[in-house]
């Protein structure tokens, strides 16, 4: 068979097909919809699973709840942690144990559930605090005695004992969103993925699982309105995918990976603005003091001296983040200026030699993320430099977050791990996980310090800022002395937004959806 000379499938026809492909793109509108000030497209790192403030599972759910259920207070945008009234005309601390509130008189619930009343406030707060309801957020109202209803719009929150974090990490959060008592009861006591009795500046009108959630401006909200007619929230777990979505014009706002910040600052996408915000999160390397060789405090101290924290952080975050001095971020009570035991490889070698512990082999468990791996590899090199062989074990999130569970398979094998916790703007949120009662829960180092526990309890009720500062500094000193911790960084939050959007951000870069405005 000879070659056919006039075969109809030619390069020209293939090029024509490619051209048609281009035409599809040309006719498809590729501009950010926020440019007309109507629709804001933002990314959340996970989809919603439950929209009940008492049982919320993730921060994105809290972000939506605080936009659709009016709370007594909300965070202010800006660089300083502060709150402002939302559903209240007034909210006042009368004394250490008493807070009076008076609701605004024009807040109604959707679905025909009427006006928001003090009875709804009582119901919403007490259902979280009631141990019988097993809310994971009961701790936010740990010292609540009761909510007293004075009249339709007024009431008093009574505490059993003083609770300092109330104003910073309870009242402005979803733990203080007010639900309609009648609506929740009509739903059988719990709200699922379909919110009822909404009352905030926005209403959730559509949820397409795994695809998007739509909030629309609440036409009945009589106070400061939301900035956009609609907010479309896309659940995108991978920050790199979200960055591409932003660059392609599909998103108006997203968090970025910390490791992307330098690149985005050097070459921001067209029409994009990159913002860096100090994060409250803390990253550390922990050593399990109940498992050899870290049952020897001198070995732990040697490892503290062996880790070059600056290089670890530089490698993991490409210069975007700085080293930390503990678990409490700058700007919060208790932040320290320095760690007690820093990089000193000669001292590490000296200690190891004195202990006869040269040639150790240890394992470091990490979450399978590129930043953690980069950090772990520097730690591995640092340890090798002092004669310790370190094996890195990567785990998926489902496995990693149960490694230190008491009674779990790995409970007696875990040696070192890289941890990262996020937190609310109160130092007690950082220290709570390292108390003795958290051993086998979140205290994977099994560091057991009754003094630390006592100071944690004091910090919750100490109202004097100077004394509180001293308490939390002391607690971190104790952590350093214990030798189980190498504090690495608080990271930094990278926020990428369209220049047509004025993002409503908390001081740590988290989004306040109702505060986003068009420029």
């Amino acid at each position: 068979m000879s070659e056919t000379k006039h075969f109809p499938l030619s390069r020209r026809s293939l090029l024509a097909s490619a051209g048609a492909f281009g035409v599809v793109g040309a006719v498809y509108p590729r501009m950010a919809l926020s440019q007309d000030g109507k629709i804001l497209k933002v990314r959340s790192y996970s989809d919603i699973q439950i929209l009940d403030p008492a049982f919320r599972l993730s921060a994105p759910e809290g972000d939506i709840m605080t936009a659709i259920f009016a709370g007594l207070a909300t965070y202010q945008t800006g660089d300083e942690w502060a709150w402002k009234p939302m559903a209240v005309e007034s909210l006042e601390q009368l004394d250490d144990l008493t807070i009076a509130f008076k609701l605004r008189d024009k807040i109604g619930f959707t679905d025909g559930f009427g006006q928001m009343t003090a009875e709804d406030v009582k119901f919403s707060i007490e259902r979280i605090a009631d141990p019988a309801n097993e809310s994971p957020y009961a701790g936010d109202w740990a010292t609540l005695k009761e909510v007293e209803v004075k009249d339709t719009l007024s009431g008093v929150i009574h505490l059993r004992e003083k609770f300092v974090p109330l104003w910073s990490s309870t009242l402005p959060t979803a733990s203080c969103c007010i639900l309609s008592k009648a609506a929740v009861e009509a739903e059988g006591g719990k709200i699922g993925t379909k919110p009822v009795g909404q009352s905030g500046p926005y209403l959730m009108t559509e949820w397409t699982p795994k695809q998007r959630t739509i909030l629309k401006r609440n036409p009945d909200w009589a106070y400061e309105p939301g900035g956009f007619e609609e907010i479309h929230i896309f659940p995108i777990e991978d920050p790199a995918a979200a960055e591409i979505g932003f660059e392609a014009g599909d998103l108006d706002h997203t968090w970025t990976a910390v490791s992307s910040i330098s690149r985005l600052k050097d070459a921001p996408p067209a029409g994009g603005v990159i913002v860096e915000k100090p994060s409250l999160a803390y990253v550390w390397m922990g050593m399990n003091q109940d498992v050899a060789p870290f049952d020897n405090p001198n070995i732990r101290r040697a490892v503290q001296h062996a880790i070059d924290r600056e290089t670890v952080v530089e490698a993991a975050y490409f210069g975007a983040a700085t080293t930390s001095t503990g678990i409490i971020a700058p700007g919060l009570a208790g932040h320290r200026e320095a760690v007690l035991y820093d990089y000193d490889p000669d001292k590490a070698r000296e200690i190891l030699a004195a202990e006869g512990a040269e040639g150790l082999t240890v394992t470091l468990d990490i979450l399978n993320q590129s930043e953690r791996l980069a950090a772990a590899q520097v730690i591995q090199a640092n340890l090798a430099d002092v004669g310790i062989t370190c094996e890195i074990k990567q785990n998926d999130s489902g496995t990693f977050w149960t490694l230190g569970d008491k009674g779990g398979d790995y409970w007696n094998k875990l040696q070192m791990h890289l941890g990262r916790f996020s937190m609310q703007p109160d130092p007690s949120w950082a220290t709570v996980w390292f108390t003795p009662e958290q051993i086998g829960v979140w205290n994977w180092e099994r560091w057991n310090s009754p003094e630390f526990a006592e100071l944690h309890a004091q910090g919750l009720v100490e109202g004097d800022p100077a004394k509180r500062d001293e308490i939390y500094r002391k607690m971190q000193d104790l952590m350093d002395e214990g030798g189980c911790y190498v504090f690495l960084t608080h990271e930094v939050t990278g926020v990428l937004h369209r220049d047509t959007v004025n993002p409503g951000l908390k001081p740590n870069g988290e989004a306040l959806l109702a505060e986003f405005k068009p420029v």
Partner: protein
């Protein structure tokens, strides 16, 4: 034919049952406590215990398997542990997106693979043939997620022709189609190579057949000979190949759904594994397995209906 159909149906039931057993066994080998992962750091031991009880994790494993197995045959795949929605509902919400993705992938592979294979065959030995050969091997060799990422960068970020994320506006087929172009290309591009190679080989064989030579001798137009007489025969092995391709595209769909942030069963399973949401994992994998077995069953029944030799040999 009825006897053949009953036997094939029986085999399909056995395959699905074995798949369910393997699936269930593997899931319980995954480390990590579902209750701890699902409820997060603030959950108490009592809450975790309550969730384990609700999920049936406190039951012996054979009881759990029997509950899952017997429920599955009646359409009860259990309840999603956090939102408490029926798993079947959760999976069926996502399935159309994955089906669309695979249909799109097949469309790309057929639309590009068959013409390229034909072109290579009729230009046998020429530079077009060589280029098609190199391209075919290249797209087979490159993982689909790499194609996905480059397609995103070129068409979504640089050219801004196509969207990067999502599945388009619900209820707007045009928008959904535009959102489908890049993900389906990523899923189907590897199969362009397979199909092009298969079509080329088949075409070369058919073009040597006596009836094609006769057609040329009678002076029939080239188009007619190639499309009507040669391609219609050469394409048959490709159809069989596509049946196998659906299974592989299902696994490629996971990458595409993650990279393009599309909803779909692959993404659903991925998320469910990370959160140890076992009812969703088992339900979603079972539905896709059943879907794949059903497609193969239909294909077998069609082949059996067309070819009596297949029926008699089964």
């Amino acid at each position: 034919m009825l006897n053949y159909a009953i036997k094939r149906l029986g085999l399909a039931v056995v395959i699905v049952s074995v798949a369910m057993f393997l699936l269930f066994s593997m899931i319980y080998l995954i480390p990590g406590d579902p209750a701890s992962v699902a409820l997060g750091p603030r959950a108490t031991e009592a809450m975790k215990a309550a969730l384990r009880e609700r999920m049936g994790l406190d039951q012996p494993i054979w009881v759990q398997f029997w509950n899952f197995y017997s429920g599955a045959w009646t359409g009860d795949l259990g309840t999603e542990i956090l939102s408490e929605r029926p798993v079947l509902t959760v999976v069926m919400e996502q399935l159309p997106y994955t089906v669309a993705l695979i249909v799109g992938g097949i469309s790309w592979s057929v639309a590009l693979g068959i013409p390229l294979g034909c072109l290579a065959a009729v230009r046998r030995g020429g530079w077009v043939d060589r280029i098609v050969g190199v391209l075919s091997v290249a797209v087979i060799a490159v993982p689909s997620f790499v194609i996905a990422i480059y397609a995103l960068l070129i068409f979504a970020v640089w050219l801004q022709w196509l969207p990067a994320i999502g599945a388009g506006e619900p209820g707007e087929p045009g928008d959904q189609l535009v959102h489908l172009i890049l993900p389906s290309l990523a899923v189907g591009i590897g199969w362009v190579g397979y199909i092009a190679r298969m079509v080329r080989a088949s075409m070369l064989e058919v073009l040597e057949a006596s009836h094609i030579r006769t057609a040329y001798a009678f002076g029939l137009p080239d188009n007619q000979i190639i499309y009507r007489y040669a391609l219609s025969i050469a394409i048959l092995p490709t159809v069989t190949l596509l049946g196998i391709g659906i299974g592989q595209m299902l696994s490629s769909a996971v990458f595409a759904e993650i990279v393009f942030s599309r909803p779909g069963v692959g993404k659903l399973v991925y998320d469910a594994i990370l959160t140890r949401n076992f009812p969703v994992v088992t339900g979603a994998v079972l539905v896709t397995t059943a879907f794949f077995v059903l497609l193969n069953l239909i294909a077998d029944l069609i082949v059996g209906a067309l070819d009596p030799r297949v029926r008699s040999n089964f």
